[in-house]
Amino acid sequence: MSRVDLLRISFRFRHVWFRNLITYRRIWRVNFLVPLLEPAFYIAAFGLGFSGLIEEVNYGGRDLAYTEFMAPALVATACMWNAFFETTYASFVRMYYQKTYDGLLATPLSLEEIILAEIVWAATKAAAAVTLMLVVLVPLGFADFPGAFFCIPLAFFGGLAFAAIGMCFTGIIPTIDMFNLPIFLFITPMFLFSGTFFPLSGIPDWARIITFFFPLYHLVELTRFFCIGTMESNLFVNLSYLLVFFIVFGYLALLAMKRRLTQ
């Protein structure tokens, strides 16, 4: 009986999304601050600290100042962290400690709808964080106006992929502190090696091939394209990869959560 039934998904899932929105609004001041300050810190650190070490970065046939190269990647990494944290730590707290899902399963909602709502919510939160970041990056000239605003729907789209894989871990992890493991083994390497802090043109082929499988790499390429109009890959390949990633891991997330929660 713990089979996933996609026919159990209806538009009712929006009510669970709304529940998360209401809760988020209660603590919005804290949620608000991080995306505003984070890019400022990174740009200050790299701009001041690295300016003497790295002259310019050659990317997509253009010579960019290091901070110009790196700033759009921050948009992508913020999207990843926000979506992944939401469906790991935050969802785990709701599932395990607050028993929110148990309560919801006494209403006409299906488990499939609840999980989908969590993933969509996480993507929404990622998009909100990116919106706030752009408020800082656009006036400072690190992201083009108005092209950079395509990063908002993009963050939602990419957020779905990261939220889905986060939910997979929530479905299988025994205790909350074990999220350290996927973060250390998966998220952190991705954060460092997805063409975020250095262009891929300078690294060996085998490393480039591995990077291609990182969803963050594709999102970084896309945010760079929308922020500074340059990219080293193909827009449609990037978008397709993220879509497939979301579908595969979204389904696995439903499966894992269904296994875990069906009693």
Partner: protein, 302 residues
Amino acid sequence: MQVIEARQLVKRFGKFTAVNGVSFQVERGEFFGLLGPNGAGKTSAIRMVYGFSPITSGDMAVFGLDIRTDWRRIRSRIGVCQQDNTLDPDLTVEQNLLLFARYFEINRDLARERAEQQLEFFALTNKRNARVMELSGGLARRLQLARALISEPDLLILDEPTTGLDPQSRYQVWDRLFELKKRGLTMLLTTHYMSEAESLCDRLLIMDHGDIVTEGRPRRLITEHTAESVIEIEGPSEELRSYIREHTIRHDDLGQRMIIYTEANGKMEAEIRSRFCMEACLFRPGNLEDVFLRLTGRGLRE
């Protein structure tokens, strides 16, 4: 029509059988109680009624609908007060009610109206803006009940609604449940408080180890399994023991204490009273707790 019709209900967790072929019916307007020691399988049985847990085997019809296929329609007509607190701790009392109404697709104006009624009914009106995190156990439980009623269900399921409450809160909950019963609401209740079951329930089912031990109206169970009148004697003498054996009187011998079940104002009662009640002797009417302990034993569970 039966509100709940469970036939040969089985629930297994791996190899372990939590509910072992249980059948029961709950009629419209009835207050039905499910009793049993910890681990008897009450929660497991109840969770199959509202489609929280899939049924291993057997049939479950609620409002004449099959829970396997019509779970959404069934759930939209049921209110559940679960054993655990599943309220949203970050939100206020009122927000909890309004959000829950949303899950049932109740429009906003109607939801406000009903939330108001429920706040009033459970004496929560002046707590409407309190955060759930700050509520005492009794208030939280009342809110959980209010939330279960926000959809104006045709069936209310209550899994140990008074466990862990102080006597004041408990009586308040009972009082509210009485009121709901008067209004004709069908209810399914599990509890550890025998006085609660005795006074609230029209009919009960006692479970143990996943099986039905007995079923019936509380008064009938008392007369059937114990007696109208009970005598408890501390430190029973051998003389008393042989007297009881001789007359084949229904009793429980606990070593230090003897519990004797007799007819009220009968000959036997008078004789025991005059011959064996030198010092520590207690006369009282028989109650559901006697039935429960007789049938499920006095050993500790878990």
